[in-house]
Symmetry: C2
């Protein structure tokens, strides 16, 4: 579920833009910088989906300038040619030619869905890749087909193994999306580190202390009290579980699983050997209908999610939340109000548009009164 | 990786028995109590595998008497007839007829492996089941076929959701096994709670304090300092991550994933609706050769595991460990010394043999001098 305490735009200052215009704007920029129009459109939809779902860290405001920079600097290929390494009825491995994961992921999921329709499951490993954005976006592509989507990414090393001093893993997130009927779909999307890297950056910017058990000292010793963030922590994130006594070997093991499926099954090495700029992915679709009657499954999901939401909360909490529920609520509101952006972000976006000599298509949204 | 500090037999007191005789003994008892000989043999191998790998919590000493009791009390069906609910080229869903997961798991993995050989991947969901023992045992069945094994189990509710007071999940473990060449295979096997339930029981028995962040108060508030174990904690385990600030919503989300794949994909409800005695499982095999050249993969695994093991340890630690490595070392030693058992355990085992009027076939192992 989304962290309700971090990464939120201050609504008092925000300008609201319509999701459609933000998406059109983003696609236009990405096309201008060299991406194929259809891949730019998918990327734009994925970025705006993050903004709509309250995941600003992976939205237009936080990622578009990076994507533009990476294309201009040659770090990312705007027109990748996917090479199929191997393929069977349910599986394929792809070399994604340094393409953006956020545009390749939905394409891989579409292939996985087609395979799953035939055999029950589809799996695609994707090597030689780049940033995949909000992982849930790719996972959620399975939902409309009545399927469960699973996505993993192995990325730039910044997380320590248990007992270790050196960063050996990315935050290697895992996302799983499963459909429900009346409830919002179950959408899990979480780093296998305690926090994702950009929360650390944000804490630095805001001058907020990090919670206990989030980072290690430079010698690898987990810091188990609140601590002010420092630049050396950026590559000293702790695996989920924080310390061995509280299960960090489990977060570490899950990071290994992500690395094996994403990197080693796509004919590349683990990312710590590849260097900072790589990201390898793993995408799977599981057809619910291959296992059980789809309608019964949706009923069972509703019962499951409903039981969780209606279970008794602990003191100090209003309710038990379910993964994907807060994000769905953000999306419901923001489809009405528009996406809130900090005025500096809007100025930056307009600057990019001007640099590429494209029309500024951003349109004002209804704003907070429409919430 | 195995927890080096808990669950270890005191070697000064132990009697050593040969793995072969312990396995024969166990299979004989399980057959006497009503299991089919071939399923009793698989179960015995799985129990002794746990003892050999240093996972006594899931070995003969800790589980056999339970399995006998469950069969005698009618809670577990010694001769289950598996019913295939649905089947496709890569998938199947099974009703396992209240059979023991430890004997059904390897059978499901064999089916998954056969499907994976054809299509690249095989997945079996298994509903209406019982205890699956050491999850890694089922996952490791894939290794000899050059495949990656993945297994999950949803079991009796004893874990709280984040912000919640009521137990809604089992410890819902996940196991993943992947082959390597020179290194021991990667074998991850971990509860999605901070600790498995039997560690709590052991701490109670030994009068040891629990580490911080392992259990909650009866009102659901996470206990974030060391605390003496109490019976009310048995159904108040915290999800991996301990508290929201340190990522417990991730352990909680992974518990949901396990529940969805194991229970909801096998035409049953989530275990909290089924009651204490149920366990549903999910088994998958991924054929490495469907994605990449198998020999290249083994080289890449060795490089990956070697880089982890040779990375610099943090102060106070001799080395960075890899999942499956400590267990493989236990097995190497115990195949020589025999399996160490507490004299009380040996007496109990001999008592069971006497009760079923079967020969006592246990043979003394070489003992600790052979280590």
């Amino acid at each position: 579920m989304a962290d309700p305490t971090m990464f939120k735009v201050n609504l008092d200052d925000a300008e609201f833009v319509t999701p459609a215009s933000l998406q059109e704007y983003t696609a236009t920029i990405l096309t201008a910088v060299g991406m194929r129009p259809e891949e730019a459109a998918v990327t734009a939809e994925g970025l705006v989906a993050a903004d709509l779902r309250g995941v600003e860290s992976h939205g237009v405001s936080n990622m578009l300038a990076n994507y533009v920079d990476w294309i201009e600097s040659g770090h990312m290929n705007p027109r990748p040619e996917v090479r199929v390494i191997r393929e069977r009825a349910s599986t394929a491995s792809w070399d994604t030619d340094q393409g953006l994961g956020l545009s390749m992921g939905p394409r891989a999921m579409a292939t996985a869905v087609a395979k799953a329709r035939e055999t029950g499951v589809g799996m695609i490993s994707m090597g030689n890749g780049r940033h995949i954005g909000m992982l849930a976006y790719t996972a959620m592509q399975a939902l409309d087909h009545g399927m469960i989507g699973l996505v993993m990414t192995a990325a730039s090393p910044r997380v320590l193994p248990t007992f270790g001093r050196d960063p050996m893993f990315g935050t290697n997130p895992i996302a799983v999306a499963a459909p429900a009927r009346e409830h919002a779909p179950f959408v899990f999307d979480a780093a296998t580190s305690v926090i994702p890297g950009n929360k650390l950056t944000l804490a630095e910017r805001l001058g907020q202390d990090l919670p206990p058990g989030v980072v290690a000292d430079t010698d690898g010793t987990p810091i188990l009290e609140a601590t002010p963030p420092a630049p050396e922590h950026r590559e000293r994130l702790l695996p989920l579980g924080s310390a061995f006594e509280s299960g960090s070997h489990k977060g570490y093991g899950l990071a290994c699983v992500t690395e094996i499926l994403s990197s080693l099954l796509s004919d590349t090495l683990h990312v710590a050997r590849l260097g900072l700029s790589f990201a390898n992915h793993f995408v799977a679709a599981i057809d619910v209908d291959a296992f059980v009657d789809r309608e019964s499954f949706l009923d069972a999901m509703d019962l499951f999610l409903g039981d969780l939401k209606s279970s008794t909360p602990a003191p100090g909490h209003d309710a038990v939340l379910v993964a994907g529920q807060p994000e769905a609520e953000y999306e419901r509101v923001r489809r009405r109000t528009g996406v809130p952006l900090h005025p500096d972000v809007v100025a930056t976006l307009r600057g990019i548009a001007s640099r590429y000599d494209v029309d500024d298509v951003l349109q004002a949204g209804a704003g907070p009164t429409a919430a």
